[in-house]
């Protein structure tokens, strides 16, 4: 420790401490929670600054192929090249890329950038990206030659798809943390300013707005001509398509994920670990059951599979519940907090899986993605990285 006795050494040590403190503090370098989707019958996984494709059946990375169908290799090492894009650890994606054409994918990052990806070559077309006037934590919606980009500070942008110029900008007083829902030329937009907005998709003109009383971080669910949202006002709210609040149900804490409805029963979870089953009736919501499944937040939208309801939590577990009673049937340890949406895939033409599978994306880099049998029974089928 003698170096500390010199002035230079002391200043150096203090600067080092400052740098370490900067690195240790949350905020600027905090990782995103990523997203999984399907592209060309493969899984496409976006997390932090990386996007890659995996085989859904066994979790192996997908290789890049040339026009003749041969695996591309690295000219120096002769190793096969993978379909993988890395934009550095400081870039943060909250959503998987969007397919905008046969050749191109599009992805928005939290870092105020929009990137175009060459689909076959897994190459960013413009590595600097297109500047956006705000951060993005939601999906970008593409329709009618427009890209609808929600900004997490405030506002919804409509950009022309061909040159990314701004067509219009819809103003909200707080952030937009979810993609709008497009139905018959009307965008239904939720905002952290407590409002649900109906907006003309072409002109960006407001048609109506309704105050739900709490911030809405997720997209609305459309069911039987009603919109259903969960709010930070500790409520599930049902709104008609003309902007009238039809019913409310009080939850124990904030609701983040979009609810899910199956057989006229709405399922949702809150941020202190409760799960709810509400029957939709003419009188509004009728509670069938509610269970404290865990004490940590249930952020993602629940998944319904046959007679089971699947919820995932920040407590590092995924729970398979009995849909009729809410009792836990089985739970799986994923050794990482689950904040991203889960993905359920069933065997279909072109999709290389032999059984229904549930994919769970965690915050732990060493346990990034798990594949489970959809009914939750048995061990994980695979995990990535292995």
């Amino acid at each position: 420790m003698t170096f500390l006795r010199s002035r230079g050494g002391f200043i150096g040590a203090a600067m080092l401490l400052a740098l370490v403190l900067t690195a240790c503090t949350g905020g600027p370098t905090e990782p995103s929670w990523g997203d999984i989707s399907v592209l060309d019958n493969n899984l496409i996984l976006a997390f932090s600054g990386t996007i890659l494709q995996l085989n859904p059946d066994d979790g192996t990375p997908i290789n890049l192929y040339d026009t003749e169908g041969n695996v591309r290799t690295d000219p120096e090492t002769n190793a096969p090249r993978r379909w993988e894009i890395s934009l550095g650890a400081t870039m943060r994606f909250y959503h998987a890329p969007l397919v905008v054409s046969e050749e191109t994918l599009l992805v928005a990052s939290y870092d105020r950038k929009l990137f175009q990806i060459e689909r076959d070559a897994a190459r960013i077309e413009n590595t600097v990206g297109v500047d956006l006037p705000g951060h993005v934590v939601a999906d970008v919606l593409q329709a009618n030659g427009l890209l609808y980009v929600p900004l997490s500070e405030k506002d919804l942008l409509a950009l022309n798809e061909d040159d990314f110029s701004q067509r219009w900008r819809f103003t909200t007083t707080r952030g937009v943390w979810a993609a709008p829902l497009l139905l018959n030329g009307v965008l239904y937009l939720t905002s952290m300013d407590h409002f649900i907005y109906a907006i003309d998709a072409e002109s960006g003109e407001e048609i109506w707005r309704v105050d739900t009383g709490g911030a809405i971080p997720s997209a609305p669910l459309l069911y039987n001509n009603s919109l259903y949202v969960g709010t930070f006002g500790r409520e599930i709210v049902q709104v008609s398509l003309n902007g009238r609040i039809i019913a409310r149900y009080s939850t124990a804490d904030w609701v983040w994920g979009t609810p899910v409805i199956a057989n006229n029963i709405l399922y949702t979870g809150d941020l202190v670990g409760n799960v709810y089953a509400l029957e939709l009736t003419n009188a509004g919501f009728t509670e069938l059951w509610r269970h404290q499944v865990t004490t940590r937040a249930i952020r993602p939208t629940p998944v319904v599979y046959e007679d089971r309801l699947i919820v995932a939590s920040r407590d590092n577990f995924v729970y398979w519940l009995n849909r009729n009673t809410g009792d836990t049937i089985v739970r799986q340890d994923v050794r990482g907090e689950v904040m991203a949406e889960m993905l359920l895939l069933e065997p279909a033409e072109g999709l290389n899986i032999t059984q229904p599978m549930l994919f769970v994306n965690t915050m732990a880099r060493e346990n990034l993605l798990f594949a489970f049998p959809a009914d939750g029974n048995g061990e994980a089928l695979w995990k990535y990285p292995r």
């Binding site: 203090a14 905020g27 905090e30 407590h194 941020l271 937040a297």
Partner: protein, 305 residues
């Protein structure tokens, strides 16, 4: 930390609602309240630091006298502390108690502002007053800046408002420097003219701390820069109060026998009959009660046989 953090997040959100959704005013009032709450600890720590500083010449003499005999030195130092009523840990303990409070204060501001989805998730379940959810998320816009983001220096010069980030960083540096100067008194120069290591270290801190805080203000959110400025300003005021108490105390010079060296013996048994007159400032109860905790006059110089 939750038992500190949750009330802090609740209080900050409550103030936000009371002050008409003004986040900057809420941060300022919140910082003032917390600094007032920890005022007794801060004062105790600063007084203890000053008292220790005053005793430095005596301690140095003891160190020179008992070179090579750590046990004897420790015993003599404790005797000296006792004579002047100083707790050598008096400066550290309040600091240790304050540390989690200030850490929580910083985290509370970050959580309440919640720039990212993960931070927002961390805020969930922390509001202890029902109904406060209705103001979530808090408005983070102020003077065309986002309080959750680091100051943007790229736009400087484009408008008058664009200079605000640099002004804020400047204020952070300035107030940190002033607070350091006010709370850390200059050490007395050594009589032998040699450079004093403690003083050098102190000077280095005086240089590095403002730079470090300026760097933090540049790297972290604007909201945090506002917290630094308000907190430092209160620290300056508190430091001045302590310094004024000391100034009243100084005009009463007294020569005391600070150590029991007269007629004492060293570890090797040789007698060193040197009394140690100190230019210390023992407290005068009738004059200044605030100084009582710092340095107490030796009622009777203790003697060792």
């Amino acid at each position: 930390m939750d038992f500190i953090l949750n009330p802090f997040v609740t209080l900050l959100t409550f103030l936000y609602r009371v002050f008409g959704n003004d986040m900057v005013l809420s941060i300022a009032v919140f910082t003032v309240l917390i600094r007032l709450l920890t005022y007794p600890l801060t004062i105790q720590q600063q007084r203890s630091t000053r008292a220790m500083q005053q005793l430095q010449p005596e301690l140095k003499k003891l160190q020179e006298k008992h070179k090579g005999d750590r046990e004897k030195l420790a015993a003599e130092q404790m005797t000296l502390y006792r004579q002047y009523g100083i707790n050598p840990l008096g400066g550290c303990l309040p600091l240790l108690i304050q540390l989690p409070i200030f850490l929580a204060l910083y985290q509370a501001i970050n959580m309440a502002l919640a720039a990212t989805p993960t931070q927002m998730l961390d805020t969930a379940g922390r509001l202890l007053i029902p109904g406060l959810d209705s103001v979530i998320p808090l408005n983070s816009r102020w003077l065309n800046m986002d309080l959750t983001q680091a100051p943007n220096l790229a736009t400087i010069g484009t408008s008058i408002e664009s200079f605000i980030p640099i002004i804020l960083i400047g204020l952070v540096v300035l107030t940190t420097y002033l607070q350091f100067r006010v709370t850390m008194p200059k050490a007395a120069p050594k009589t032998d003219g040699k450079p004093d290591q403690a003083q050098q270290m102190s000077q280095s801190m005086g240089t590095i701390m403002p730079i470090m805080y300026g760097f933090f203000a540049l790297s972290f959110s604007v909201g945090l820069a506002i917290y630094f400025i308000v907190s430092n300003t209160i620290g300056i005021v508190q430091g001045l109060i302590v310094a004024r108490g000391r100034a009243k105390f100084q005009p009463l010079p007294a020569v005391v026998t600070a150590t029991s060296t007269k007629g004492g013996s060293t570890s090797n048994g040789t007698s060193k009959g040197s009394s140690t007159p100190a230019r210390l400032t023992p407290s005068n109860k009738s004059n200044n009660s605030s100084a009582r905790n710092n340095v107490k006059p030796a009622a009777k110089p203790s003697k060792t046989k």
